[in-house]
């Protein structure tokens, strides 16, 4: 049987090239060490002392979107994404992090809301901010966005916690179905709290008592992806602790969801947290996955029917295997005409800091997505990831498309929206 150790053994890569057929980065630049096959060779050579941790090696490690398409097709059952993560971790262990990463990661660890406020304040300085902000998946992504772009997302004046009560009761007249905890993540907490609200209201309409727990922190994925396993596992521990008393943890952020569901992989089996992480990951659901499982039907809408299409976030489709649920939800909503776009599960091109470090490739991937959206004829492109939302909106502005970007919860919440 293929065990975890074999999955990350680069010697087992036979260089068949299947990964080259699915890699969004290779598809654009055709540079071999930007695709799993080439990276596997480099990682092996560094391990064997044939190549040093030179800058170009690091560039190759960070030229990966971590979308995990290669994991899905590898016939040898390797996980090139895990190999890449391991190699990034090794670089950080040996060479340390950048000063900015240190400040921001530590800041988030100790006082996340202050970091958010700082980012928000900085965003008010003319010239430093753009309307709607730049693509961003996490507060932690700031570490690469600040030097790369010097443009910051707009902080909402009232974070989610100030907008909703700690517990939102099930809507009147619906059958009560129990209690769930919502994990809003940095984005819905500080930058897009209206989506956080839509998620909570939708769950309440589905009959759930929705708790916004205290003591949550960043999901840690940005740090984990950067290779800072120390910080990411610390964040994971805190979140597991804060959510210990809930049976269901729901997130409307595909990225956070992929992290929470993967927490058990962030601890070694010897770690005392491992067992708890395994149990924790089992109780995490994506928003659409959860609603479909509990037979949610959205209320009918009185407004004009709207044609929508769905963009699959890599973190939902490939990391969590959730594909049908958002489509089922959308198709079930009266007043929504669902159309499938071509290559709906193609990457949006963001990949967190990737979009800054590899701007041209990232925007070329984005352009392909824009073409699909345009051809679908949809009035709105719906998705489940704040990072994707930002980057789709960025592409739509760049291409001047008459298309709106929205989170799926806006449609499940229905008409009674108070803005």
């Amino acid at each position: 049987m293929i065990d975890q150790k074999m999955k990350i053994d680069p010697d087992r890569c036979m260089k068949c090239g299947f990964c080259m057929s699915v890699c969004p980065v290779y598809d654009i630049d055709h540079i071999e060490n930007h695709v799993a096959r080439g990276r596997n060779v480099l990682v092996r050579m560094v391990r064997d002392g044939e190549l040093s941790l030179e800058d170009d090696y690091r560039r190759c490690l960070y030229s990966c979107l971590l979308c995990r398409r290669c994991d899905a097709v590898c016939p040898a059952n390797l996980s090139p994404a895990e190999i890449t993560l391991g190699a990034r971790n090794e670089v950080i262990e040996k060479k340390g992090m950048s000063w900015l990463q240190n400040i921001i990661y530590n800041g988030i660890l100790s006082k996340r809301s202050m970091v958010a406020r700082f980012v928000g304040l900085a965003g008010l300085i003319p010239g430093l901010s753009v309307k709607g902000g730049r693509p961003l998946r996490h507060l932690a992504d700031m570490a690469s966005f600040i030097p790369g772009a010097l443009s910051l997302p707009k902080l909402s004046s009232r974070p989610l916690r100030k907008r909703v009560s700690a517990v939102t009761k099930p809507s009147a007249g619906v059958k009560e179905k129990g209690e769930v905890a919502v994990f809003p993540g940095c984005m819905y907490e500080y930058f897009l709290p209206d989506i956080g609200e839509d998620i909570i209201v939708s769950l309440a309409k589905a009959g759930f008592s929705v708790v916004l727990p205290e003591g949550l922190n960043c999901c840690g994925l940005s740090m984990h992806n950067a290779g800072d396993f120390k910080t990411s596992s610390l964040l994971a521990s805190r979140n597991i602790e804060a959510l210990a008393s809930y049976d269901h943890v729901i997130t409307g952020c595909a990225t956070c969801g992929s992290a929470l569901k993967d927490y058990h992989k962030w601890f070694s089996e010897e770690d005392p947290m491992y067992g708890r992480a395994v149990e924790f990951s089992k109780k995490v659901s994506d928003f659409s996955e959860f609603l479909v499982k509990h037979g949610f039907r959205a209320e009918g809408s009185s407004s004009e029917p709207m044609t929508v299409t769905y963009h699959d976030p890599c973190h939902l489709r490939l990391h969590q295997g959730v594909y049908e649920a958002p489509r089922e939800l959308l198709s079930s909503i009266d007043g929504v005409k669902y159309v499938e776009m071509e290559n709906a599960d193609a990457c949006c091109g963001l990949g967190g800091s990737f979009s800054i470090a590899h701007k041209e490739v990232s925007q070329a991937i984005q352009s392909k997505k824009m073409e699909s959206i345009k051809n679908s004829g949809a009035q709105a492109v719906v998705t489940s990831c704040p990072g994707c939302m930002f980057y789709l909106a960025h592409g739509i502005r760049r291409n001047r498309l008459p298309v709106e970007v929205m989170h799926i919860s806006r449609l499940t919440r229905g008409d009674n929206r108070i803005d």
Partner: protein, 460 residues
């Protein structure tokens, strides 16, 4: 000869900085192909985007005696795209436009970097079909396939790349651009130069564009999987089917070891006890396919099959074929070094070859895993070894040598579809007469007098 700074700076001028790679981490990524035991570092990697750039690069390289190894996706299995003498790797992957699909004339003209699978996806939209199917088709480029004269499971019924090559654009070592052939099925105008370049492994010219013959998409396809308790019976079934005038589009054989590995890594519900599985695809008009399927099923049972299944739907058929494609990967994933051979014998000699391969493995105490294209006599005995273990590796090489000898004795060839490259060049002398090899060398000199194109390949 090492490439000079002056040449490097001129290459930058021809291409611009974004199409030139020189760092060690970058060069390393173009130092291998899909074989497991060859590596050679280039000194510079270039990504031309049009033919005039290639012309200027080659002229410059030729004047300065710099080796040039053309490369597509580097998924070849012969060592053929490895720059053993350093110099330039000329990667055509960014030249990936489909220039024309001419449905009326059943031809298409494509740039060298078009990926075979992408090409077929585009063709499918117009109900067209391009059969040659090396099992690396997900990533392999048309340019590479032309240079290697690639083929795959469809070989038996539909032939290989050379059977579809009508014309090409290529650049000679001197930098001269040549247009060869045309768009017609029939063309006897002088020597058939496109066919000479096809399969020349990048040693005669750099192919930049190919005009290919297309077929209409078959109306129906049916996959049949037959399970046998021994390999010899499986082969008997194939002979029986072929002798009755049925030409399955594909007739593939996988052995027990591979069946088990596939079931371990990605279970497809294959019977793990079976000694061998034959996988057929029948295609053509719906009614014909239905009738032929019935006959194939019956003839497999008549030959002694333990179980025969028809794929219920496209999804199940895809699963079966994925299993076949994963075969090689399963092998590589389970041994430090795998030597994937591709000896080919006349169809009726296949059972004897397999018998001999088995004995050779046992005699040398070397694990040999077998899969192949049962219908066309092309066998892939894969020798599992570890090149870091000199004693074992030496035995493995001896095993390969004996397999080649066996194939040649049975009137076969040492390579059916992978090519000679580096992997088999020391066996060429056994497979070709000295006069014939001399002729190869003379042809090479006419095309490439200074020997800059992919040096070190095919012959010693």
């Amino acid at each position: 000869m090492a490439i000079t700074k002056e040449v490097i700076s001129q290459l930058h001028k021809i291409l611009g900085d974004k199409s030139v790679l020189v760092s060690k981490a970058d060069l390393t990524a173009f130092s291998y192909d899909a074989t497991s035991n060859w590596q050679g570092m280039p000194e510079i990697v270039l990504f031309p985007t049009d033919i005039s750039q290639i012309s200027r690069i080659l002229a410059l390289a030729d004047r300065n005696g710099v080796p040039v190894t053309a490369r597509g996706a580097g998924t070849n299995l012969s060592g053929g795209s490895i720059p053993v003498f350093g110099g330039i790797v000329l990667c055509t992957a960014r030249m990936n436009r489909i220039i024309e699909i001419d449905a009326a004339n059943f031809t298409a003209t494509v740039e060298a970097g078009v990926v075979l699978n992408d090409f077929n996806r585009e063709l499918a939209k117009q109900n067209l079909f391009f059969p040659p199917d090396p099992q690396s088709f997900l990533a392999a480029t048309i340019g590479g396939c032309v240079a290697e004269n690639s083929g795959g499971p469809y070989g038996l019924k539909y032939g290989v790349f050379k059977h579809y090559l009508l014309g090409m654009k290529a650049v000679l070592a001197s930098g001269e651009i040549i247009s060869l052939g045309g768009k017609t099925i029939k063309n006897v105008t002088g020597y058939d130069l496109p066919l000479l370049i096809c399969g020349s492994e990048g040693t005669l010219a750099v192919v930049t564009q190919a005009t290919l013959k297309l077929l209409p998409m078959p109306e129906a396809r049916q996959t049949v999987l037959a399970v046998f308790n021994d390999i010899i019976t499986a082969n008997a079934a194939v002979s029986r089917i072929l002798s009755k005038g049925i030409r399955p589009a594909k007739t593939e054989l996988i052995d027990n070891w591979i069946i088990r590995r596939i079931e371990e890594s990605a279970p497809l519900g294959l019977p793990v006890e079976a000694e061998a599985i034959l996988l057929f695809e029948l295609d053509g008009a719906t009614e014909t396919v239905r009738m032929e399927t019935e006959k194939v099923v019956q003839m497999c049972y008549d030959a002694g099959a333990a179980d025969v299944r028809q794929a219920r739907d496209k999804k199940e058929a895809d699963n079966f074929w994925t299993a076949r494609r994963m075969g090689f990967s399963a092998i590589y994933g389970n041994a430090p070094t795998a030597m994937a051979e591709d000896v080919t014998v006349p169809m009726d000699k296949l059972p004897e070859l397999m018998e001999r391969v088995k004995r050779i493995g046992e005699k040398n105490d070397i694990m040999i895993v077998t899969m192949g294209h049962a219908g066309d006599g092309n066998l892939h005995p894969c020798i599992l070894t570890d090149k870091k273990n000199p004693e074992h590796y030496a035995r493995a090489q001896k095993t390969a040598q004996e397999i080649f000898d066996a194939a040649l004795e049975l009137n076969g060839v040492i390579s059916g579809e992978h090519g000679i490259g580096l992997e088999k060049k020391k066996y060429l002398k056994k497979a070709m007469s000295p006069e014939a090899i001399e002729l190869l060398k003379k042809i090479k000199t006419v095309f490439d007098p200074n020997g800059i194109l992919n040096p070190g390949k095919i012959w010693e």
